[in-house]
Amino acid sequence: MAEEVKYTPQTWPEHPETANLEGKNKFLGFWLFLGGETVLFASLFATYLALKNKGPEGMEFTTQSLFELPLVFVMTMLLLTSSLTSVYAMYHMKNFNFRGVQTWMAITVLLGFGFLALEIYEFYHYVHIGFTYSQSAFSSSFFTLVGTHGLHVVIGLGWIILLMLRNAKRGLSIYTAQKYYTASLYWHFIDVVWVFIFTVVYLMGVMS
């Protein structure tokens, strides 16, 4: 069967992700899914912008009083770097270097966990000072937007870890390479969304 072909770096195709029909379908289907995700996040952003700083009479929380830029900056750096490390993983995938793929994916996962830890800390902090999910329309829309992104990070991490585990014995094949490729697209998309979050939510939130 086709999938059992043993490849060498010389025979490994230039574009394993689209080397067969299944791959082409997966590739396109995943991109379309990202198109839908764009609309999904746009709806969340739109709602957040409509409800920003809106709350019950006399609410003391505002974007200005809440957000701390240094924390967001560190989170941004972690996530941006993890985007680059997953590019490295794909680079090694194209070179048919499985160890390279696993190593760089592992680094990506570590950076992702770093991001997630800071986000959890941030949320915990907000809840601690009384800015809970139910506190106001503002809090609901904030936590839902940023939390949905965070959920994507969690799913991305789970996905990549699962891939690394399942493929540890299997190694690289057209079949497994395609799985890595879609996972890395997903990871980049998470970064794309974050760029808008740090700009629209945090930076524009603290702007005077």
Binding site: G29, A50, P56, S140
Partner: protein, 621 residues
């Protein structure tokens, strides 16, 4: 799963249906469950019309009326019309483009089971403390304060079935983009494929906003969020926007495939190439695009201001242009054709005046100042039933006759079919035409009864009588289906004799791998071209006979959907029952575990070998 025919016991047959990933079987699953929900929604409609037949009626209480009304609309749109259309898409599109299956057979099955469990969940509300009662639009100002769990059933049920629809949309997009047979360029794609393509793109972009809106509703009602509560800074208009950003494209998701079915019918039974093919394609794409830019016409009276109202009014009216293009192209297709008035053709002919009437009232409502008068009156009810029943449902009934032989290798009775048509068609106009006038006379929509002597009594009575005619039509149809199935006379391929596209060229019953060899498409209406040239086989081939790769059946989609179904009960009773959170976790756990199983196992499918194909003629599973 061998290619050799075998007798199966009930258990293994059931197992086969639960695990199938074959688009032809999934089509039947969609058709059967959609048909079931169509009957449920129809019974609800009859109850509504009985209640409104006479003034001051007490057949239904006010609360129960609201529940029935809400469930009627929700069921018809989400659980009847869309799934039945998905059934046709599954049955027809892969064959029409010369593909062996859809792009993602596994996801195809997952999409179906999600829809199915979502629909069941929604309808279980009847037995678990009451159905949703805030209308199919479920405006947040009403739905937030609706007591009981009806709205929760609505939000969670639609969330699950919506996920299925979303998956199905992506699946069809990829199938159509990537899996067309050699020679099938975009501009040779039959219109039903084109409309499926555009409708799927609409699903891709319209369902995420609905998902978000439903999540907000779920969070507000079940998890203490404040999106719509104005005392906490929330705003119910956000729901209206999100709902209609989804809702208007949704009506095009329904009508475009209907347009596709009618385009096929007009060409087949006029025995002529579809007039203005490229204009038809262009109009389809344009409608799809404009469909996203008009949602606020449902919110004219909210008070968005004259600027916004003007922009959305003009955009709405613009949609009438490509729609008009389509109408004229259909008329010109019939013009000078040698027409055969079969049952599908009869529906198609009935569709044109009905749909035009619905379109005209649509343009009337698009004039914002006039809409202040028409809004929330029976005029609106008349409008959308003219487009949905006069367009979508007529297409569904036409498609049932047209594609029955393709799906079951036997034909519905033409005679009974025509009887159904006349009952249904006349009943439809009797029911809804008069509602325009009820609206103009001031009768508001969504009222459970009305006071005698306002001049509405007779018209309401006529409307209810019309509904009885439609019901008779549907009963005759059910008899027709039963009789046809019992007789089961095989008809072979191209039973209408005038098929033009690939799906009619394939041998019947269709082999489970579809095309033994991938066909070569030589033009628009490729089967017609082959027939004209006297090709007995009806197809040219693009490749020699070789092994065929097939996907494995899988039970995972069923389990995955079941997990969400279970989790939904947990979310619904959150904060009320002690078992709620554990059930939520268990349900999600089942879904996640089945996703992990899917990911961890290698599933390469299997091959049918050339030698086995050689002596395999028919399509016995």
């Amino acid at each position: 799963m061998s290619a050799i025919a075998q007798k199966k016991g009930f258990g293994s047959a059931l197992w086969d249906w639960l695990t199938t990933v074959d688009h032809k079987k999934i089509a039947i699953l969609y058709l059967a469950s959609g048909g079931f929900f169509f009957v449920v929604g129809g019974i609800e409609a009859m109850l509504i019309r009985i209640q409104l037949a006479v003034p001051d009626n007490s057949f239904l209480s006010a609360g129960l009326y609201n529940e029935i009304l809400t469930m009627h609309g929700t069921t018809m749109i989400f659980l009847a019309a869309m799934p039945i259309l998905f059934g046709y898409m599954n049955a027809v599109v892969p064959l029409q483009i010369g593909a062996r299956d859809v792009a993602f057979p596994f996801l195809n099955s997952l999409g179906f089971w999600l829809f199915f469990f979502g629909g069941i969940f929604l309808n279980l509300s009847w037995f678990m403390g009451g159905a949703p009662d805030a209308g199919w639009t479920s405006y947040a100002s009403l739905s937030l304060y609706s007591p009981g769990h009806g709205i929760d059933f609505y939000a969670l049920g639609l969330q699950i079935s919506g996920a299925g629809t979303y998956i199905a949309g992506i699946n069809f997009l990829v199938t159509i983009i990537n899996m067309r047979a050699p020679g099938m360029t975009y501009m040779r794609m039959p219109l039903f494929t084109w409309t499926t393509f555009v409708a799927s793109a609409l699903i891709l972009f319209a369902f995420p906003p609905l998902t978000i809106g439903l999540f907000f509703l779920i969070f507000d009602r079940m998890f203490g969020a404040n999106f719509f509560d104005h005392t906490m800074g929330g705003n119910t208009i956000i729901w209206e926007h999100l709902f209609w950003i989804f809702g208007h494209p949704e009506v095009y998701i329904l009508i475009l495939p209907a347009f596709g079915i009618f385009s096929e019918i007009f060409a087949i039974f006029s025995r002529k190439r579809l007039f203005g093919y490229s204009a038809m394609v262009f109009a389809t794409v344009l409608i799809g695009f404009l469909g996203f830019m008009v949602w606020a016409h449902h919110m004219f009276t909210v008070g968005l201001g004259p600027t916004a109202n003007a922009i959305f009014a003009v955009a709405t009216m613009a949609i009438a242009v490509p729609t008009g293009v389509k109408i004229f192209n259909w008329l010109l297709t019939i013009w000078g054709g040698s027409i055969k008035v079969t049952t599908p053709m009869l529906y198609a002919l009935g569709f044109i005046p009905s749909f035009v009437a619905g379109g005209v009232t649509g343009v009337m409502q698009a004039a914002a100042p006039l809409d202040y008068q028409l809004h929330d009156s029976y005029f609106i009810v008349a409008h959308f039933h003219y487009v949905i029943v006069g367009g979508v449902v007529l297409a569904i009934l036409a498609g049932l006759h047209l594609y029955w032989p393709l799906m079951f290798n036997t034909m519905l009775s033409e005679k009974l079919g025509k009887i159904t048509f006349w009952f249904f068609f006349l009943g439809f106009h009797a029911t809804f035409f008069i509602q325009h006038f009820l609206g103009l006379m001031g009768m508001p929509r969504r009222v459970y009864t009305f006071i005698e002597g306002q001049g509405w009594d007779l018209f309401n009575f006529i409307s209810s009588m019309g509904a009885i005619l439609m019901a008779i039509g549907v009963i005759v149809l059910v008899i027709n289906i039963v009789m046809t199935t019992v007789k089961n006379v095989p008809v072979g391929n191209d039973p209408w004799k005038d098929g033009r596209t690939l799906e009619w060229a394939i041998p019947q019953p269709v082999p489970f791998y579809n095309f033994k060899r991938t066909p070569l498409v030589r033009g628009l209406d490729t089967f017609w071209i082959e027939k004209q040239e006297g090709n007995k086989e009806g197809m040219s081939y693009a490749e020699p006979l070789s092994d065929i790769h097939m996907p494995n059946n899988s039970f995972i989609p069923f389990v995955m959907s079941l997990g969400l179904f279970i989790a939904a009960f947990g979310a619904l009773y959150n904060g009320e029952k002690a078992w709620a959170v554990p059930v939520l976790v268990i349900g999600l756990g089942i879904t996640l575990a089945s996703m992990a199983t899917r990911s961890l196992k290698d599933d390469h499918g299997y091959h049918i070998h050339k030698e086995d194909l050689m002596d395999h003629k028919g399509g016995n599973y």
